[in-house]
Symmetry: C2
């Protein structure tokens, strides 16, 4: 494994050395837990990002609740690894739970068949959920940042202008919404998701907390999933309070992953399972004493969208009780 | 007066008809208060924007506390006039005081000698102040917006990337800080202001509330000007709370004007005179159900900068009292 990584190292720019360094340092780890004892699978519930299908490079999961994300062999990999190695000591305790657990790095047979490759080992948020509904929301009214290359800036800016990123301060990058055994999932194609308008986003946020999606989403889970003291809104407000003050990181092109399990009520829970996590830190940079106003503004906009679904559903519940 | 305006109308695109319409409708007003009875002067304390010097077109003031802003004869004029005509009915009472009073429009002899021209008649915030210190802070991490022309977008984006707009979410557009009878004002040239770094901004915010600017700003007014229940920070937090909820306007390229009169203490006030106003609405558009996340993010960043000066000055006061 080390050899493969070492070979790849030669001829690389210095900023691209991260995955090679990791390959060397995690060889021992791979010996302790040899990857051939672990059954790696393609994630069932991935809604955005590179996918490990048809021999492409993408993340893998195992049966023990771990998610293996290939470490990109350029500065994106360096940046994301540096983030995961440092974040737990830099975040207040009550915020740490809003990030996936990081278990280190490991050499794993890459999903594209290119041999052993360093992967970030993270918590698999979807494990233990048969039919999770998931929203991937990229937060911020710009995904580019001054330190990036001019080429990256122009491409990112173009994407931001073509999606709701500029207008809403966030965009939905991917989603799947479970409806029922009969109807299964609603999982629109990436192209469709990319062209979402503000009204499409409003509809998605209503469908996300509905039992029946058609013809009109019933929003029957709005008060328990968006509302309540451990609901999504409360967790977003906690995140917002931290962003109003934190000058540690600027999270460019970072996503908010919302996972809910509406069926968990059937399994004895009184409220549906709800999870809020920040993911994707390949463009996270140091804040240099300034708050992440780009993320904060977008987060506040998203909070407003979510709270409107909650308010509307309360209003219609009151209306229904009077009729 | 009406004739001049009517002549100018011919050949104009429909979006450019605003100042002509106003010229017509405010002819009567001009007859009631003929402009030749009023002594118009160039504002003494203008720190940003077009200036009425050397025969250029710029704003004027009179002796009764009114500020006359030439109505631009393109869609910027239309937009700003529409804003002033509608804002008071659309804003909650406690927020209205953060905007200049609007007295209507009036035909006034233009400062560039081009004849009678429609002007917005606004409250002159600097009146009654002999030596005001003023900061003009353009809020938002972008001054462009999707509805603008591609040419405007590219120029605005370039300016945003060259100043602190992108990095800090705001930029200082102009300032004057009164020090003393002997030293007078510190009023850096526009070119210098444009090239301010984050650290320059921090220094300006310290000097703004200081009695002695050199060699180290003493920040002796920090607690009374930034702090306190009617201080700048409290007013900014009120504005922030409104921006977290309001979906009426998006304020692009709008400025926060901070005016303080440190000398007012000498005239019997217990705390220095402090005024916070939003100005410049030539690019204010309808919000279409979305919060102004661009303004909100920048405002939160500016609030953090101000609160850090306050915190630091408190810390050094405590330190001093122990030494």
């Amino acid at each position: 494994g080390a050899r493969v990584a070492d070979e790849k190292t030669s001829g690389r720019a210095s900023s691209e050395g991260a995955s090679a360094d990791v390959a060397r340092s995690c060889t021992n780890r791979a010996r302790v837990t040899p990857s051939f004892y672990i059954m790696f699978k393609t994630p069932k519930h991935q809604v955005a990002g590179h996918q490990a299908i048809d021999g492409n490079l993408g993340p893998l999961v195992d049966d023990s609740g771990r998610f293996y994300k290939p470490l990109q062999d350029d500065e994106r990999g360096t940046t994301e690894l540096a983030f995961y190695q440092s974040f737990s000591s830099k975040l207040p305790h009550h915020i740490r739970g809003l990030f996936p657990v990081f278990y280190g790095t490991q050499l794993v047979e890459a999903s594209d068949g290119s041999g052993l490759r360093p992967h970030l080992v993270l918590q698999d948020i979807t494990s233990n959920h048969l039919n999770p509904s998931i929203l991937d929301v990229k937060i911020g009214s710009r995904t580019w940042y001054p330190e990036a290359s001019e080429d990256y800036i122009q491409k990112a800016l173009e994407g931001d202008r073509l999606t709701t990123t500029v207008t809403l301060g966030f965009r939905i990058s991917g989603l799947q919404i479970y409806e029922s055994k009969e109807s299964g999932y609603w999982k629109p194609a990436r192209k469709e998701v990319k062209s979402f308008s503000a009204d499409d986003v409003r509809l998605v946020l209503r469908k996300f907390v509905s039992s029946n999606l058609e013809p009109e989403p019933d929003c029957c889970f709005a008060s328990t999933i968006y509302g309540g003291c451990s609901g999504i809104l409360e967790q977003l407000l906690e995140l917002k309070a931290w962003f109003e003050d934190q000058t540690v990181y600027h999270f460019h092109s970072c996503s908010l992953l919302l996972l809910i399990d509406k069926e968990s009520v059937l399994n004895g829970r009184t409220v549906p399972f709800v999870e809020v996590k920040l993911i994707d830190f390949a463009h996270t940079v140091e804040a240099e004493g300034v708050i992440d106003h780009n993320f904060l503004g977008g987060l506040c906009s998203f909070i407003k969208f979510v709270s409107e679904v909650l308010t509307d559903s309360k209003a219609s519940t009151i209306e229904a009780s009077f009729n």
